[in-house]
Each structure stands twice: as structure tokens, then as C-alpha cells.
Amino acid sequence: MIGLTHFLVLSALLFTFGLYTILSRRNAIGVLMGVELVLNAGALNFVAFGRFVEGGLSGAVFSIFIIVLAAAEAAVAMAIVLAIYQNIRNIQADKLDALQG
């Protein structure tokens, strides 16, 4: 029987993979994909808690929020990446160190 724990483990794995992707990818697009994984891990968590813990539809509502937020974030992030690319012809994350102290 599949319970809350399974979902949480899956979600944790998903988060870990996303985090690892964020930390390890050099391509900015890849980093954005990692961010999507982390967001979806969070959304999965909300849905799972919404299903297994008393609370009505609030879990599902949060997931939808996250999905919308992710879409908006992806759009803005992609725009930034494109703008960077047009400016310096490069989207390698480790080269983008203009915020260096």
C-alpha cells in the first residue's frame, strides 16, 4: 500500500536531484531545469499532505500556485538568460560573476 512516506521520499529524492542539478550544471538552462525539479518536489509535498492529512483542498491549491509560479519564473528566467546570451554570447553559470565582491 502506498502511503505518505513514499510520497515524501519521492519528493525528497526529487528535491535532492534538483538541488544537485542547480549546484552542478554549468549551463544556465540546466540550472533552471534543476529549479523546476525543486519546485515540483515542493508541489508534490503539498499534494501529498493535502491527500493524507486533513486540510481540504488547500494542498492542491498551493500546488497550482506553485505550477503557475514556476511557469512565470521559467518565462522570466528564460528572458534573462536570453538577454545575457545576447550580451555576452555565453550562458555558462560559472562565468557570470558580475556580482563578484
Binding site: L23, V31, L96, D97, L99, G101
Partner: protein, 737 residues
């Protein structure tokens, strides 16, 4: 009542000085000497008019002119000192002002002839006027400070005029000597003044006016200063000032040297007026001195010793002016002797007659010097009587006066002093004075004999030019000789049927305290108290007396006539028929005979037997040399005081170089070393600390900057790691609740 004319007496000569010092050279000699003589003439006329006003019926005892407030301090809990620059014309200062301006006037006139053709003609008259100003200020000053201003002023003028021919080194040296010796005396004078003021403040009276001081001195009678009664200490210190100004032992040494100045200066300053300032000062402080018997004894003793000491020196001098100078010192000694036995009026009387005959003698010697082409050695003179009859005549009259032969002025005044000394019981001092009088007669007739009699010993050129001087020179001589003849009649003693008018005249200026302690000293001064009855100008109107400016004058019921009724049981009787002690006649006869014999002896020896002095000098070689060299006093001072001062100066210079400079240099070196150390600490330590902190911050910043890589992933990595660490810690020790 305002008496601004007193101010004009004093300030007219000052105007003359200002004019001549600035414009004198440009306006020519006629204007210069007209201004110089005219201002003094003005002073004399004003003083004479003041004298007339004092003698008038119902006149006050003194006229006071208050010019401006000078010093006003204190008040509240402190005694108040409200001091005005004020002048007082009372009986004593009237006599002094008349003598100063009168004799001064004649000497100014004489100077027209004497200084003729001198390149410093206007300067001479300006200095003489300045002197007249200072001297008149001295005698007319209402308070001690004003007197002191005049006192210093005459000292300055004395210095200026002794060194008048300043291109000749000995003259300037003599001027310096006079000034420095006087400074020593003035130092004592200042101490005396300070003590006096201190005593008065102790007694609760802040005042420096003579009239008040004299009246208040009984309050100081019980005070003591360093074991001495305060009044005696004050009297002695003031007298130290007088020994300087009036050339008494031990400070007389400047006066003979002061003869380096022009002869009118010697006559005016160093014979007639300035040198008598000390006598005047003591007479002015009579209310103080009468309560200071020890100080009076010192004054009398010093005076008597000075009188005979300098008379012996006068025996062996060959410079005509030096003889007169030592004679002046000797006569000043007589005045001091007089005031020292509290016979203040006798001292002032002798001051006056001495001013007449000694001025005449000096001017006569000046006339001789002019004729002799500035030769002053009497051994090169002789036989001048025929060539210069007027000079000789006046010189002879004055010599008779100074020798104390009747009826000339010196007889009355000197005899008065000697009699007062005898009467006060100081027989030893009388003997000194008497011997001094014999010597005076002897050296003066020696001077006359060698200068005017016998054969002329000058060279042919001088001999052919010998002639009498013009009237500007002879006129003043005649005037002074006249005064020297009649001046004595101002004080004919009761013993000779006179009224001793000068004594009565000065009586209102004398203070008598109702204190029996000084009876012995007081007695001589108090003879006949009858001036009220005779002259009619006395203090019988108390309102008038106080209005005259002297609030502290004796109240009416204490007018001298009554005060001394106790001291003199038959005071009134005295006034009518003065009882004369037969001793007075005897003393008079002895001194006249002595003086006459000694004078005749001198005339005989130096005209008929000039070999006698030479043989005596040969016989008593040591003694002669001692006297001839003025007892080696100058050499003694040179060896002790002066070389002592010089040596201490060298020692002080060495001390200065070694110790003071050493200290200063040591401090500087120490400072430098401290600065080096401090700089080292500053550079190494403080700066090191500051720089170290800055460096540390910089290094830290440099290192920490590396963390801020600007790479998003590094930040994310840090966040993840941090979170992980926190979670692990949470798991290990439990999450906070």
C-alpha cells in the same frame, strides 16, 4: 579755595624746559636764556607773592592746591588711600620755594655770562629749568609720593648737568657716580617710605600727606620692626636716602666729583638747593622724627662726623671747586646735626644762609675760573684781588659768612645749631661741630689767601688777560653777597636781643605730640612759643587753619602757645622776656673768637709764611698724604664695594654661564631626548598600532572578498551546506521548540 598759582610756581620752569629742549636751538641764545630766566623769575615772583599772602593778617597756615586725583584705591574693608597730586605752600615750603627760586634766579642770570658761547647753551637752560621744576615739586609736594617724584627728578637733572660736557669722559663718569650713589640712598628712602605706609595702614589710615603723617605718627609709636621701634626704623631708612642726596657719610663721595659739571650747576644743585633736600625732608617729617629718638641720634652723629671729616679734607685740596665741595659736605653735616637734635628750624635756617653764601662762593669761583681760562688749581692763581675787585669783595663777604663771623649770615645760623646741640646735652657732638667750625674758617681763609693775595703765579698769557667779568656775572654775585650779609638777621637769637623770627615763622609747620617720651629731644625745638602774639598770623582762628588744607593740623586749643605750657612751665613769660642761658653767650664768644683766630692764622700763614704749610706737610707726611688723598675713601670703596660688586658680577656671570645656562641646556637636551623617545614610540608603536589595524582590516577584507565570488552556484552551495549543517545539528541535539 583754589590756589592754582602754586601749580604755576612749579610748572612754569617745566614749560621753559619743554620750550628750550625742543625749540631752544633754533630760536637763538637770546630767546633761549630769556625763556630760561623768565620762567624762574615767574616762579620767584609767584612764590614771593605767596609768601606775602602767608604773612597777611588772618592768613591760613597753608595754601593747598589740589590738581587732580592721582591714586584712589582701597575702601570697603581695606583702608582707603585717596591721594591727590596736590601742592602745599606752607611756612616751611615757602622758605624753601623762595630759596630755590630766588637763588635759582640769580644763578640762571649768572649762567647767561658763564655759558656764553657754549654749544649746548639752550640745552643747559632747559636742564636748569627742569631742575627748578623738580626741586620746586620736591619742596611744594603735599604728599610723600610727589616729593619722591621731585626727589628723583632732581637726581636726574643732577646727573644730566654733571655730565653736561659729555664729550669729556671724566664728566660722564662723575655723572654716573652721582646717579648710582644716589640710587643707593634712594633705595633706603623707598624702604623708609614703604615701612611708613605699612605702619600707617596697620594703624588704619591710608594716607601719604605730610600733614596727616606728622599728626598720625603717635599711632605708630608702639609698633616695632625687626627689633627696632618702627618710627626709628623709618627715620633711619629715610635718612639713608638723605645721606645720598645730601652727601653725608658714607654716601658723600659723589659730591666732590660732581664738580665736573659747569660751575652754575655746582652752585645751584650741588650747593644751594638739591643737596639740601635731605635736610628739608627731615624737617618736613619733623612730626615723625621727634618720636624717633634713635633715628635723630643717628642723624645728629652722622652729621657731626661728616662736618668735621670733610672739613679736614678741605684743608689740603688744591682745586678751588673741590675745596668748596668739601666745604659743602661739611656744611650739610651741620644742617644734619641741627635737625638731628630736633632743632629743625635751625637746620632750615642754616640751609637758607648756606644757600646764599655757598652759591656766592661757587659763582665767585666760577668767575675766577672764567678769568683764569678754566684753570681751577689755586696754586696757579694768586693776587686776583686787585684784578677782580667785585669778585674778591663778594667772595670775601661769603667767606666771612661761612666762617661764622658776625654780623654775616653764617654766624647766626651756625651758632644757632651749635647752641641747640649744646642745649640738647650732646656735648661731644658740640665739640665736633666747634672744631669743624674752626677748620671751616681756616680752609676758607686759606682759599682766599692763596687765590686772591700774593703774587699771581699764572703764565704770562693768562696774566695779561686777567680782568673783571661783565655785569651778568658780577650782578648775581653782588646779590648773593648782599643776602649772605643780611640773611642772618632773619634769625637773630634772643640772646642778642633778636626775636629769632625764622624759628617763629617755621613753628606752625612743626608738629608737637603730647607724648612725654621724647621730652629730651623735643625740648630744644620748643623755645618761645609766642609767634601768635608777635606775628599775628597764627592759628588763633581754627577755621582758617583747617580751611588752609590741613585738616589734621593742631586744633585751635592746642596752638603751640598752650601745648607746651607743661613742657615749659613759664611759656608765656618766655615769650615776653626770653630767659637766656649765659652759656649761650660763652659759646658764641668762643666760636667767634676761635673762627676769627683760625681765619687770621690762615691768612698769616698763607700770605707771609707760605713755607710753613710745606714744612708741616713734610713733617707729618703720612697724615698730609692721608688728608690730601681724602682719606682714601674712594679707594676704599673701590677696593671693597666696587670691586666686590665687580667680583660678584664676574661670579654671577660665571654662575649664569655654568648653572643657569647648564640648567637651560640640560632641560633642552632632556626635551630633545624625550622627543626622540616619544617620536620613536609614536612612529613605531602608535603608528604601528593604527597601521596594523588598518592593515588587518585590509587583509581581512582582501580575504573575505574572495568569498563574494559573484557566482550564483557558490552561494546556493553555501546555502545548501549551511542548511544541511543546521539540520544535522538539529538532529543531533534536537530542534528548538
Amino acid at each position: 579755595m583754589e590756589h592754582s598759582w602754586i601749580g604755576w610756581i612749579v610748572f612754569l620752569p617745566l614749560l621753559g624746559f619743554v620750550f628750550n629742549i625742543f625749540a631752544g636751538k633754533r630760536v637763538g641764545v637770546r630767546v633761549a636764556h630769556t625763556v630760561g630766566v623768565g620762567t624762574v623769575l615767574g616762579s620767584f615772583l609767584l612764590a614771593a607773592n605767596g609768601f606775602r599772602m602767608l604773612t597777611a593778617e588772618g592768613a591760613p597756615l597753608a595754601f593747598t592746591s589740589r590738581m587732580w586725583t592721582w591714586i584712589h584705591v582701597g575702601g570697603g574693608t581695606l583702608p582707603e588711600l585717596d591721594l591727590s597730586a596736590a601742592l602745599t605752600f606752607d611756612h616751611l615750603s615757602a622758605v624753601m620755594a623762595l630759596v630755590v627760586s630766588g637763588v635759582g634766579l640769580l644763578i640762571h642770570i649768572y649762567s647767561i655770562g658763564y655759558m656764553k658761547g657754549d654749544e649746548g647753551y639752550a640745552r643747559f637752560f632747559s636742564y636748569m629749568n627742569l631742575f627748578s621744576f623738580a626741586m620746586l615739586l620736591l619742596v611744594l609736594g603735599d604728599n610723600v609720593l610727589l616729593m619722591f617724584v621731585g626727589w628723583e627728578g632732581v637726581g636726574l637733572c643732577s646727573y644730566l648737568l654733571i655730565g653736561f660736557w659729555f664729550k669729556h669722559l671724566p664728566n660722564t663718569t662723575a655723572g654716573n657716580k652721582a646717579f648710582i650713589v644716589n640710587r643707593i640712598g634712594d633705595f633706603g628712602f623707598l624702604i623708609g617710605l614703604s615701612l611708613l605706609f605699612w605702619g600707617l595702614i596697620q594703624a588704619g589710615h591710608g594716607t601719604l600727606r605730610f600733614s596727616e603723617i606728622n599728626a598720625l605718627t603717635p599711632l605708630l609709636a608702639d609698633m616695632r620692626f625687626m627689633g627696632l621701634p618702627l618710627l626709628d626704623a623709618i627715620g633711619i631708612f629715610l635718612f639713608v636716602g638723605a645721606t645720598g642726596k645730601s652727601a653725608q657719610i658714607p654716601l658723600y663721595v659723589w659730591l666732590p666729583d660732581a664738580m665736573a659739571g659747569p660751575t652754575p650747576v655746582s652752585a645751584l644743585i650741588h650747593a644751594a638747593t638739591m643737596v639740601t633736600a635731605g635736610v628739608y625732608m627731615i624737617a618736613r617729617f619733623n612730626g615723625l622724627y621727634i618720636l624717633a629718638p634713635t633715628a635723630l641720634a643717628v642723624v645728629a652723629t652722622v652729621g657731626a662726623i661728616t662736618a668735621i671729616f670733610s672739613a679736614t679734607i678741605g684743608l689740603a685740596q688744591n682745586d678751588i671747586k673741590k675745596v668748596l665741595a668739601y666745604s659743602t659736605v661739611s656744611q650739610l653735616g651741620y644742617m644734619m646735626l641741627g635737625v638731628g637734635v630736633a632743632a629743625f628750624s635751625a637746620g632750615i635756617f642754616h640751609l637758607m644762609t648756606h644757600a646764599f653764601f655757598k652759591a656766592c662762593l661757587f659763582l665767585g669761583s666760577g668767575s675766577v675760573i672764567l678769568s683764569m681760562h678754566h684753570e681751577q688749581d689755586i696754586r696757579k692763581m694768586g693776587g686776583l684781588a686787585r684784578k677782580m675787585p667785585w669778585t674778591f669783595g663778594t667772595f670775601l663777604v661769603s667767606t666771612l659768612a661761612i666762617a661764622g663771623l658776625p654780623p654775616f649770615a653764617g654766624f647766626f645760623s651756625k651758632d644757632e645749631i651749635l647752641w641747640k646741640v649744646w642745649e640738647s646735652g650732646h656735648k661731644g657732638l658740640w665739640l665736633l661741630g666747634f672744631l669743624g667750625a674752626l677748620l671751616t674758617s681756616f680752609y676758607m681763609f686759606r682759599l682766599v689767601a692763596v687765590t686772591f693775595f700774593g703774587e699771581n703765579r699764572a703764565d704770562e698769557h693768562t696774566k695779561s688777560h686777567l680782568k673783571e667779568q661783565p655785569w651778568v656775572v658780577v650782578g648775581p654775585l653782588v646779590g648773593l653777597a648782599f643776602l649772605a650779609t643780611v640773611g642772618g638777621f632773619a634769625g637773630v637769637p634772643h640772646a642778642l636781643g633778636g626775636a629769632n623770627r625764622i624759628h617763629q615763622w617755621l613753628e606752625p609747620a612743626m608738629f608737637h605730640h603730647e607724648n612725654g617720651a621724647h621730652a629730651r629731644w623735643q625740648a630744644p625745638a620748643l623755645v618761645p612759643p609766642a609767634f601768635a602774639a608777635e606775628d599775628g598770623h597764627a592759628a588763633d582762628d581754627p577755621g582758617e587753619a583747617t580751611r588752609g588744607g590741613d585738616g589734621h593740623r593742631l586744633p585751635a586749643e592746642e596752638s603751640p602757645g598752650e601745648v607746651h605750657e607743661e613742657a615749659y612751665a613759664h611759656g608765656e613769660e618766655h615769650a615776653e622776656h626770653p630767659a637766656v642761658d649765659p652759656a649761650e653767650y660763652w659759646l658764641m664768644i668762643i666760636s667767634v673768637l676761635g673762627a676769627a683766630l683760625s681765619g687770621l692764622l690762615a691768612l698769616f700763614i698763607y700770605t707771609r709764611r707760605p713755607d710753613i704749610p710745606a714744612r708741616l706737610a713734610e713733617r707729618f707726611k703720612g697724615l698730609y698724604r692721608l688728608i690730601y688723598n681724602k682719606y682714601y675713601v674712594d679707594e676704599l670703596y673701590q677696593a671693597t664695594v666696587i670691586s666686590g660688586v665687580l667680583k660678584s658680577m664676574v661670579a654671577l656671570a660665571r654662575f649664569d654661564l655654568k648653572v643657569i645656562d647648564g640648567i637651560v641646556n640640560g632641560v633642552a637636551t632632556l626635551t630633545r631626548w624625550t622627543a626622540v623617545v616619544s617620536g620613536w614610540i609614536d612612529n613605531g608603536f602608535v603608528d604601528g598600532l593604527v597601521n596594523g589595524l588598518a592593515d588587518a582590516a585590509k587583509v581581512a577584507g582582501d580575504r573575505l572578498r574572495r568569498l563574494q565570488t559573484g557566482r550564483i552556484q557558490n552561494y546556493a552551495y553555501a546555502v545548501a551546506t549551511g542548511t544541511l549543517v543546521l539540520v544535522i545539528i538539529g538532529l543531533l541535539i534536537g530542534f528548538p521548540r
